[in-house]
Amino acid sequence: MNSAIRTYDLTKVFRGAPALDRFSLDVPEGSIYGLVGPNGAGKTTTIKVLMKILAPTRGRSEVLATDSRLLGPRDFAQIGYVSENQELPEWMTVRYFLRYLAPFYPTWDDALERELLRLFQLPLDQKLKDLSRGMRMKASLASSLAYRPRLIVLDEPFTGLDALVRDQLIESLLARAEGTTIFLSSHDLGEMESFASHIGYLEEGKLRISEELESLSARFREIVLTFDAPPEPPRELPADWLHLEIAGPVVRFVDTRYHPDRFAELARSVFPTYRDMAVNGMPLRAIFVALAKKGREAR
């Protein structure tokens, strides 16, 4: 499969401190890629480098097969970028904003524009400066969807929005996801889980995980083993087991490489005396909390 975005050892240093550290990423075309991570992890910096807003210190990145440092008008005509921090021309009305942008895009679709306006219920004659935060995001999104971009890049698009607006934006994105690659950053794992096909986990400028959400969810399990009496702590644990806790006759841990066919045998080899075993699926939030804890422990 072709890549919509690829980075090779991407590094960005601000005053000696690395914001991105040899970051290599591959976003398949047509995927919905969610880049998650705590505040300050480097999500916005990644997007700014990809969008040619910042130059990388080392390494390189490709967006739609073009070196991001060389992105030009023809490339930007195929990219929709929306950021929570973007400064819009506040003096423009919603109508003028969209009419102003339309001639810049050869693929601008007036019918789609009307549909988006209807969907988002945007007040056409109101100035952008007078819109609520949610409405501004909608206006920005409408202006980035109306030309059917091949790649949509969203930087924390849902921050500060109420649940209703958030769902509306996600729905409109999903409705137009076919054939389009969506790359978005967020620190809200719940919303990401609902629609991302791929997930990348960024921590302190390093990409810890990057894979399909399905496989990620499939391999992370919370395991609860119950014993008749408190067990002896094992001398050695498999490397893929995290955060083992023994509380009386109950043992809990996270298996990061869970395999239903092999797990029972592996568990028995470590804990030969357990009586019951519960295998629980983990929400994305719990997976990343486990990973973050591991990172902290490692440091």
């Binding site: 807003i53 008008p73 930007f76 005509a77 973007q86 400064e87 102003y100 942008l101 001639p103 810049f104």
Partner: protein, 496 residues
């Protein structure tokens, strides 16, 4: 181009109120410029012109800041803007709302006051070129900054450097460097070239790469080169360029001769410390009938028998003068009818101390401006402007025992403007009062507004009855002449 026009349309929509204010001010300036023929004192409203210029700058800065270049949050930087279209849009805005209205104002002022705009076409184009360079500079400054506060800080910083640098230059090398005289147009064109080059490079870098740091380095480097005390073009080089630019009259017949028969005249020089003044009697011959020459700078080289040498630079304080002429403002004018003149030079005091009594060889190099034949207009009315020969308008006023004169001319001023009183009243040895004289009067580039103003101070009115006329002369040639004088005993020519 379509994208540029689209951005321009957006900018016009956004800037409508500011455009209206600037156009209102420019319309007022146009009314004043057009009315100046009937009321020359209106051409003296420099404060208002400055306000118009500042308003134009504000408009240009605002329109560039509308699509701000520094920063990483502007919506347009991830839109399919072409940098060439963006730059073109801003350039077209400047042309539409600053350059063309200014041109229109000047053409209108010329036509209303009876001057043919076609006759002034090249001067108008030079004026527009200067304005374009200035606007490019403002555009670059706006492209490198994010808001007006930064602009003000840059302006204050530059002003500070200007004050400190000028004070330093005055102490170190002073007026020789600062007084560019008739070479000023060369310096002006050179400065325009520097401004256009560095502002252009900074604009290109900033618009194409949004690389504020490198673009600012280019801009600041250009700014430092433009500081007026730099004088990057040596004066004599500039003078030679002027000589190639203005050979309207053949000056080959003009020669210098020494004239040792004359006594040393009464001195009026004020040599600086470490110098003494000498006055060598000479004649300037071959000046075409009715014309005059004006000595702008003189270089003196002294060579003693024992091999000791000393030479001055081309010094504006060294002159050839006619001491019969007064006041001082016109004393360098040399009509060349065979009168004895004096080459007055400030020379090294210690050289004179050691070699003043022995014969030395003197080599003089004199930079001349030749002034064409006088165009004379008799002044017949007081308090009313009247057209004068030589393309200008003058108004003379008389109040009790004083006389005042104010002359304006479009885009370029005569090299010399003189008021002549006749018959000669006592106290006016030649009946002449100079309103303006070379070299200042020979500069016609880089002026401010359409009118060039020359104005007298208040003169004491001669006793009635007397007639007055105004004479103007244009510079028609720049050239240098050399003179060798042997066996000069400097102490014999020392100023009393």
């Amino acid at each position: 181009m379509r994208q540029a026009l689209w951005i321009l349309r957006k900018d016009i929509r956004r800037m409508r109120p500011r455009i209206a204010v600037v156009w209102l001010l420019m319309a007022a300036a146009a009314v004043l410029d057009s009315a100046a023929g009937r009321h020359p004192q209106l051409a003296n409203m420099r404060g208002f012109l400055l306000l118009v210029v500042l308003a134009q700058w504000f408009l240009v800065i605002s329109v560039v800041h509308e699509d701000r270049l520094p920063g990483d949050r502007q919506f347009w930087i991830t839109r399919p803007y072409s940098w060439k279209s963006l730059l073109l849009a801003k350039g077209l805005f400047v042309v539409l709302f600053v350059s063309l209205p200014t041109l229109l104002d000047h053409v209108l002022a010329l036509a209303v006051n009876g001057f043919s705009p076609l006759h002034y076409l090249s001067a108008l184009l030079w004026e527009e070129a200067g304005l374009a360079v200035g606007m490019l500079f403002v555009l670059a400054l706006a492209a490198l900054t994010a808001n007006m506060v930064q602009i003000v800080l840059v302006a204050l910083g530059y002003y500070l450097v200007l004050i400190l640098g000028t004070a330093f230059a005055m102490r170190a090398r002073a007026p020789v460097v600062l007084a560019l005289g008739s070479a000023q147009p060369v310096e002006t064109v050179f400065n325009w070239a520097i401004a256009a080059l560095f502002a252009g490079l900074a604009c290109r870098r900033q618009f194409s790469k949004r690389d504020t740091w490198r673009a600012s380095v280019l801009f600041v480097f250009g700014l430092l080169l433009l500081l007026p005390f730099n004088a990057i073009v040596p004066w004599d080089t500039a003078f030679h360029l002027m000589a190639t630019r203005l050979p309207a009259v053949d000056s080959t017949a003009v020669r210098l001769e020494s004239d040792p028969g004359h006594k040393v005249g009464a001195g009026a020089t004020h040599p600086e410390e470490g110098r003494i003044a000498i006055a060598l009697p000479i004649r300037v011959i071959g000046i075409p009938d009715g014309m005059e020459v004006y000595s702008e700078r003189v270089k003196i080289a002294l060579h003693a028998a024992d091999g000791a040498d000393w030479n001055s630079a081309l010094d504006p304080y060294n002159v050839i003068q006619d001491r019969a002429l007064e006041p001082e403002a016109v004393y360098r004018r040399l009509p060349g009818k065979g009168e004895p003149y004096w080459l007055t030079a400030n020379i090294d005091k210690s050289f004179c101390h050691y070699h003043g009594d022995e014969p030395v060889h003197v080599h003089a190099t004199v930079a001349f401006i030749m002034l064409g034949r006088a165009q004379t207009t008799a002044v017949s009315r007081w308090g009313e402007p009247q057209a004068i020969a030589g393309e200008g308008i003058c108004e003379l006023s008389k109040r009790e025992a004083t006389v005042g004169a104010l002359c304006i001319s479009p885009l370029r001023k005569p090299a010399l403007t003189v008021i002549r009183f006749e018959p000669l009243p006592s106290g006016y040895p030649n009946g002449l009062v100079s309103l303006d004289h070379p070299p200042a009067g020979s500069s016609d580039l880089g002026g401010f507004g359409i009118w060039r103003v020359v104005q007298s101070g208040i003169m004491t009115a001669p006793p009635e009855p007397f007639a007055m006329s105004i004479e103007v002369r244009q510079a028609v040639a720049h050239f240098e002449r050399e003179l060798d004088m042997s066996g000069i005993r400097l102490k014999e020519y020392q100023e009393p």
